[in-house]
Subunit: 518 residues, 2 copies
């Protein structure tokens, strides 16, 4: 045994330099603090008593400060410098070398933000959360306006501290935290033609002579059974409930403490189980990515998701390519009938499949169908880009929001609760985040097209409740690599092509044209 | 306004020295870390998915280490020295001076424990928790024995590091963390005569010709209604649910993050609502103490409970002096009938009051009645004292446990699940903790006797569901002072006497003699 181990070790052409172990320990400790904050944030959204929030904000601010101290420790810079000087190690193409590359990226970014800024930001957004919840409930934008003004000012400070990339704009520096290398120019290049195609296609749908029945989306089902049903579905798709939870919150999210502790939330509408079903499958898609990250790499870049765009590709694929497919509904109709018996017996597979694919321009992004969803994202991108540049003031936001929603979707916003107060992101200071939803939607379609090519009978399996082949394929091709490859590299490796809107439009038109008789 | 404020300020004879502000900031930051650990521990016991526990242990170990670094920071010692040299400040009798005294006490204690010990202890007990849960479920002491052996060894190290007080024994150094100044000799001096009186009284009860009916304690009631009912009762007693929660866990506890975030747990027995009722009222008693601590002092000794004995006096008083009184049951019978209608209609007030006061020697401490409860505590005290001194090995524990339970309570322990695996404390490394239950029971009776003297019609009020006079009296006399006074000083101030077992025996005999026709 000892000899064999020694022989194996001597075969390794690049033994790890000692500084790597020191760097890895420091990163893992910073991750313990990050993941502690993740538990506290989840708790704040799901469990904490209302009066405890102020103290919670102070706890989160302290954790953010401590994490920042660790990620910006000058010794991290020293270890990185030492490792980068070891060319044999760096050019080995190993996961460890990729970790050094990614750790350098994070270090450069973090060292640009002074600890006071990080701490203030964390405390302001934690308190702003509560203000947003109240303002949204009461549709009272003026109550939230001072908070958002403060957050936008801090965000502009942050963009200035991070520095605008050459030839770019301040928004790019913010987006880079969510989607490395993402720029407003690149997003615009994808969004502009896509918007034109979507607006034209939605107009075509609006004029269609046939349309799926919407009846099931106004069919009351009891809360407790909805909860059991949704849990059954995500477990069947592959979300491991012994390594995660599903709870209720105002805004559905997926929080990750560790690959063995992944927490999803959803919300329930008694009259539309598809609401909780869609959002739970979506969050479970995020959750299966987190659960699929390699356990021994947790705390290092190799144990972390690539980007929000790639994260969203996982949630969108399970939500749309799987959860809105004809095959899925063939399996799901049976599951639904047995859970809600006899309340769902009268709906056929085709009626349920149709109801999950109704296209109807509306006011709320998270309720939007696959065709109109991306237009909501485009509106937010345009607005936040202008808020960050200073071209739009916070006071002008509701008016501009309402104007753009009308222009893109043809609907009139009656109040700010259904308008610019609907999303949690800006109250969390997450500017540069929204476009990753559409990028993820495009990646999802492109990845799923590749999975269909590579897994024989993939979609037939869905109709029998067989989802494991897709999950295993995603585990091996995407989840297992952590941040080893960039989004662009991963897309090329998995699909053999660069990101394009074609697979998404093919998916959308291929499904909706028959349903609408176009 | 400004002039008035200046005038007020100039009336203060002892302006706070600058070192006080620095000390207070450091203590408050350590408390943010402590309270973060409290959220994570609560989450581990109530919410965390099973596979997430290992990562949780690492998070808790890091938090314990960071908290320890702060509480042992040499600057804390410098600030304390500087403040102690300011005689005018120290002798002012102010709350701030008391904070310096208590902070010195904590500092001396904490600086005796090296960071490696604290971190190892935290990680071992966090993992041991899961081992204990499994071993208890399977009644498998050998599975838990290596964990407990490890914990006892670490505990003996801890006692040695803390140092035995002059004329004392190692156990004293451990107990001091829970009950400042508590010694095995003092506990023995109280326990020995009390044991004799209790054993004699229980024998008298066993021979009584009359006894209350136990029928209600085997009366099945639905879980959901039990949950609503218990919540209703603790809210009526005064536990503020906008500043706290009530959840379910294996072992009931009260966790405190902040006076505005106090989390209780209980457990439910379908055939005995008195189980959840008693434990919820008990934990709510702890919770009302935590909610009653002064908000602006949180993080300082003046915003912290005096000791576990005093903490237990609050839980015991609400559980026993209130929750097992004839008056309480007059109110509670109506509440119970309306919640469980018609299932409880046939029980009279006297039957329900009697059922809550049945004396029956049994195996489980937390299920024990008021008369036999303290004998359980005495057994644990004797065993842990010997484990800590080395006179008893962990392997001998089950046999000794069973022997002492038989000797004190006359019952035979059939397996370790109902024997030495029943309590969570030792798996948490909490040696020196158990006697505080009986000390608290004695304080509870003595405090309540004082409340009866001072609040006219106190117990008549219970029969009308009026519990606020007692809570306000406890808020003002006990909760508001934090650690300003020691247990002994507080007892003297509130009751005008030193701690004695007389009020407890008077309470017990005064209630049980009529019920048993003695």
């Amino acid at each position: 045994m000892t000899n064999a181990a020694a022989a194996f070790s001597s075969l390794d052409p690049h033994p790890l330099p000692p500084a790597y172990g020191q760097l890895a320990s420091a990163l893992r400790e910073a991750n313990l603090l990050r993941s502690t904050g993740a538990v506290l944030t989840w708790d704040q959204e799901t469990m904490a008593p209302p009066r405890g929030i102020e103290h919670r904000s102070r706890q989160l601010a302290l954790l953010a400060r401590l994490q920042h101290e660790r990620t910006t420790d000058p010794r991290v810079g020293d270890w990185l410098g030492e490792l980068e000087a070891d060319r044999g190690f760096i050019e080995s193409g190993s996961m460890e070398a990729a970790n050094v590359r990614e750790a350098r990226r994070d270090y450069l970014r973090e060292t640009r933000l002074p600890v006071e800024h990080v701490s203030e930001f964390a405390e302001v957004v934690s308190n702003a959360q509560q203000a947003w919840i109240g303002a949204r409930r009461d549709s009272d934008f003026p109550a939230f306006e001072p908070w958002l003004t403060n957050i936008v000012a801090l965000t502009r400070d942050r963009a200035a501290l991070l520095g605008t990339p050459e030839g770019g704009e301040p928004w790019d520096a913010l987006a880079d935290a969510f989607e490395p290398g993402c720029t407003a120019a690149h997003v615009t290049a994808i969004f502009t033609p896509l918007r034109a195609r979507l607006v034209a296609f939605i107009a075509e749908i609006a004029g269609a002579s046939r349309r799926p029945s919407d009846e099931f989306n106004d069919h009351e089902l009891p809360l407790e059974t909805q909860q059991l049903f949704v849990r059954h579905v995500i477990a069947r798709l592959g979300f491991d409930l012994s390594r995660g939870r599903l709870d209720t919150s105002t805004h559905p999210f997926c929080g990750s403490t560790h690959c063995h502790d992944v927490r999803l939330t959803t919300r329930y509408d008694l009259r539309c189980v598809n609401d909780a079903l869609g959002s739970s499958i979506h969050e479970a898609g995020h959750g299966m990515y987190e659960q699929g990250l390699p356990e021994r790499e947790i705390g290092l870049p190799s144990g972390t998701a690539v980007s929000l765009g790639i994260h969203e590709s996982q949630s969108r694929m399970w939500e749309n390519q799987v959860g809105r497919s004809r095959g899925f509904w063939q399996w799901c109709t049976t599951a639904m009938r047995s859970h809600f018996a006899p309340s769902c017996d009268r709906f056929s597979v085709d009626e349920l499949y149709g109801a999950a694919n109704v296209v109807k321009p509306g006011l709320i992004r998270v309720d939007a169908d696959e065709a109109t969803y991306n237009l909501h994202v485009m509106v937010r991108f345009e607005l936040e880009r202008r808020l960050v540049s200073g071209a739009l003031s916070v006071g002008e936001l509701p008016g501009e929001w309402n104007r753009l929603i009308k222009e893109h979707l043809g609907v009139t916003v009656p109040n700010d609760r259904l308008g610019c107060l609907q999303d949690v992101h800006w109250s969390m200071g997450a500017f540069g985040y929204f476009p990753t939803y559409t990028l993820g939607t495009l990646y999802a379609a492109q990845f799923h097209e590749a999975a269909r090519r590579e897994i024989p009978g993939l979609e037939d399996g869905y109709s029998r409740g067989e989802f494991e082949p897709l999950l295993r394929w995603l585990n091996a091709g995407i989840h297992a690599h952590g941040r080893r490859y960039s989004s662009a590299e991963l897309c090329q490796r998995v699909t053999g092509a660069t990101l394009s809107a074609e697979p998404f439009m093919a998916h959308l038109e291929g499904k909706l044209r028959p349903l609408y008789g176009l």
